[in-house]
């Protein structure tokens, strides 16, 4: 769809805002609607729009499959790691209160990190699924 100038220009203008909105939903999930899952999907949507308009191969150069697979693993490991960190801090698995001196701060920190892990994995997996399907044509 590279030949459609209007599509190309409008999507180029929109993509930074979609990425920014994804990050906003990620960071703001504690205070408003949203969280890691929604943020990951929105973040991936920007890349998918790019892949639709500028061919999948171009998008693969921006975010190669190896990077995405690594990111998906990092997200899951981050979530599991937060759980283990709670155990090292003297609590149970996934007990965030043990992450900081004040249990309240520990809880907030744990929630932020868990949401970040969810966001990274969801975004990476959505892109992996799209790339895989689109690469078959």
């Amino acid at each position: 769809m590279k030949d459609y100038m209007l599509l190309r220009i409008i999507s180029k203008m929109l993509i930074p805002f979609i990425l920014l909105f994804g990050l906003y939903v990620q960071m703001h999930g504690d205070y408003g609607p949203g969280g890691g899952f929604q943020a990951g999907v929105i973040f991936a949507a920007a890349f998918i729009l790019y892949a639709i308009v500028f061919e999948v191969e171009t998008a693969r150069r921006v975010a190669p499959m190896a990077v995405l697979a690594t990111a998906a693993c990092i997200g899951v490991l981050l979530d599991g790691g937060v759980g283990v960190a709670g155990m090292i801090g003297g609590g149970n698995f996934l007990e965030y209160g043990a992450l900081a001196h004040d249990p309240r701060h520990g809880n907030h920190l744990g929630i932020t990190l868990i949401e970040l892990g969810v966001g990274i994995t969801v975004a990476a997996v959505m892109m992996i699924v799209y790339y895989s399907f689109a690469g078959r044509r």
């Binding site: 949507a45 979530d79 744990g110 990476a124």
Partner: protein, 191 residues
């Protein structure tokens, strides 16, 4: 009629309109033979569902529905249609068995709604179990004002970890089944 009652009446009208369009788009998506149009209609269905969640004050669910149901799912459906065919084949004989199964299941579900608590009932079991505890304690214990986030990431942390693992496994499955295989075939040059 005071303001609260007026707001409630408006919400009921909005619900009726949204539900009407939900049924209409759902039926049209099933009846149409053009799969491209069906996929688009399912996207609209997701968006209407998201609007319904907003009216029901479930904004987090609405967000997910709009992003996943109306967004990603539609894109994946279109990709699948691009890989296969654009028109649904006519079945060789009318699917009476499937129709019967759908009617029986639907009838049972409609019958079961009779046993549900009234719409928006504060005394419903779902609102009296652990939910009041979460609402009372979440802000104090976690410092996170959005109770939904606090419940999902903290009180139900195990569930969220499980969900992430499921998504991760799904992604790796797709990658191994069609992502890597397709690339290798292309590089090898053979069929």
């Amino acid at each position: 009629m005071d303001r609260k009652e007026g707001r409630r009446a408006i919400e009921i009208y909005i619900n009726i309109v949204l539900l009407f369009f939900l049924v209409a788009t759902g039926l049209a998506a099933v009846l149409l033979r053009n799969l491209l149009a069906s996929a688009m209609l399912l996207g609209i269905y997701g968006l209407l569902m998201a609007a319904l969640w907003v009216v029901l004050d479930a904004v987090d669910v609405a967000f997910t529905e709009a992003a996943v149901g109306a967004g990603i799912t539609t894109v994946l459906m279109l990709l699948a249609i691009a890989l296969t065919e654009r028109h649904e084949k006519r079945p060789s004989r009318p699917p009476y068995l499937a129709l019967l199964a759908a009617l029986v299941t639907g009838g049972a579900l409609v019958y079961a709604t009779g046993g549900m608590p009234a719409f928006g009932d504060a005394a419903a079991p779902a609102h009296r179990h652990v939910a009041p505890e979460y609402i009372a304690r979440a802000l104090d214990e976690t410092g996170v004002p959005n109770v939904v986030t606090a419940v999902l990431a903290s009180y139900r942390g195990f569930d969220t970890l499980g969900e992430v693992t499921v998504i991760f496994t799904a992604g790796m499955g797709v990658l191994l089944l069609i992502g890597v295989g397709a690339r290798r075939r292309k590089e090898g040059g053979g069929s």
